[in-house]
Symmetry: C2
Subunit: 256 residues, 2 copies
């Protein structure tokens, strides 16, 4: 059974990344900028991605790879591993244990497997679209449908740059129950776990969102772009705990 | 030795609060608003503060108490316990384990003891002004003096309301290495631990900042208002990893 093999292997990749990250967490790891305005990167990000790529190349030499740090290999391969060694490098650099390693497997345009791994807290969400496991047990979104009860999350309000984006975010924040900042991929993991109900972000890249899709969908949530279409390279993402909540949110923000 | 007794007792209070909070974390705890525009509160906040007050009243019946949820008892007492059962109630409600319980003891206007306790991660910072312990071991700030290398933290940029406050924060954020959002008291704990270098906030109340002062100062950091004066009831706070860094930050923001 090939999918079982892929799943077992992706868990091995998550174990491997965690070992490396725990070595560096809260130790002196000065983060560099790849270039002006770009995200930061540390030796931990690089070492993790190099190790994961080596393991994939050894086990599945004909598979493609798309990683944040070392780019794209074999873009036309049937199977493709999408990797973000540390999503939330700023949080990692500040010693906050709510970043994550993102590992996913795609077959052509389909998201087969997504893992969000928090190696310090030893928390792992594994999604296959059909179901999502948190540390081995089935997990579900809250299913909340009332926006007034919803807990909204975004990493930073600074990602809403245009006036219409700012307005959309503010309108949403004004009608939900509470808004929490920071969190990166950990917000999506908590949405799958039922304690966050809406995550809204912009400018996500494939390596940021590929793993989130099977995790959110497997937990009964919805994740789309701001117009309710499949998440795509424009990088706009909105994830919700229920279809009803998602309809309300999209109505408030679409066109922004 | 009275101070040793106080310290042992404050540790017992932190143990007690942690037991209650762990019972509620990531379980259904709907947060209420005390009133419009006010912070949220959950059954966990209330149960923790009630338990701590009961323990204090039993052990030190003549001591004062100032707690976020149940107000002030004996404001003129020589010794006063200042309590915030859950600092970061929004993070708690969202299932993020980076809130904290704040417990502090004041003698008149002097901050004798401060505890920042994170009961899910079992992380505890205890400061006495002279030293700060993280889970029993001495801890120090990073000592960073170069603002270009500094990691800046604030819970939400929405706390900077006036144009001059927004400008000050933006100016600071533009010249530091990275800026992280969310975190509440946990940011100050990480500053004492050496992985965050500047925390800047507004509108903190005594129960928000009393415990932070001995923790930050005991770790070699500086914590003042935005003009470099002692933190006071205006609630403006800036904490830094070194005196040199603090001078630079105050110059950028004072008068805002």
């Amino acid at each position: 059974m090939q999918n079982k093999d892929f799943l077992d292997f992706s868990v091995k990749l998550a174990d491997l990344s965690g070992k490396i990250i725990r070595k560096y967490f809260r130790h002196e790891v000065f983060a560099e900028y790849k270039e002006a305005e770009s995200p930061i990167v540390t030796i931990a990000d690089k070492e993790v991605e190099a190790a994961l790529r080596e393991a994939i190349e050894k086990r599945y030499p004909d598979h493609g790879i798309n990683g944040e740090e070392y780019g794209i290999k074999a873009p036309d391969a049937e199977y493709k591993w999408v990797l973000d060694p540390i999503d939330g490098t700023i949080a990692f650099t500040c010693g906050k244990p709510i970043f994550g390693t993102l590992i996913s497997l795609m077959r052509k345009d389909k998201y087969l497997i997504g893992i969000i791994d928090q190696p310090i807290l030893k928390e792992r969400w594994i999604g296959t679209g059909g179901e999502t496991l948190f540390n081995g047990a089935r997990t579900k979104t809250s299913g909340i449908t009332d926006i007034k009860k919803a807990r909204l999350a975004t990493t930073t309000a600074a990602m809403f740059k245009s006036e219409s984006q700012k307005k959309s975010f503010q309108a949403l924040s004004d009608c939900v129950h509470v808004t929490t900042f920071g969190g990166d991929c950990y917000n999506y993991a908590l949405l799958a776990g039922g304690t966050i109900d809406i995550v809204i972000e912009r400018t996500l890249k494939l390596h940021d969102y590929a793993a989130l899709i099977p995790v959110i969908e497997g937990a009964g949530g919805i994740i789309t772009d701001w117009n309710g279409k499949p998440v795509n390279s424009n990088g706009d993402v909105v994830a919700c705990a229920s279809k009803e909540l998602h309809n309300i949110v999209i109505e408030k923000i679409s066109g922004a």
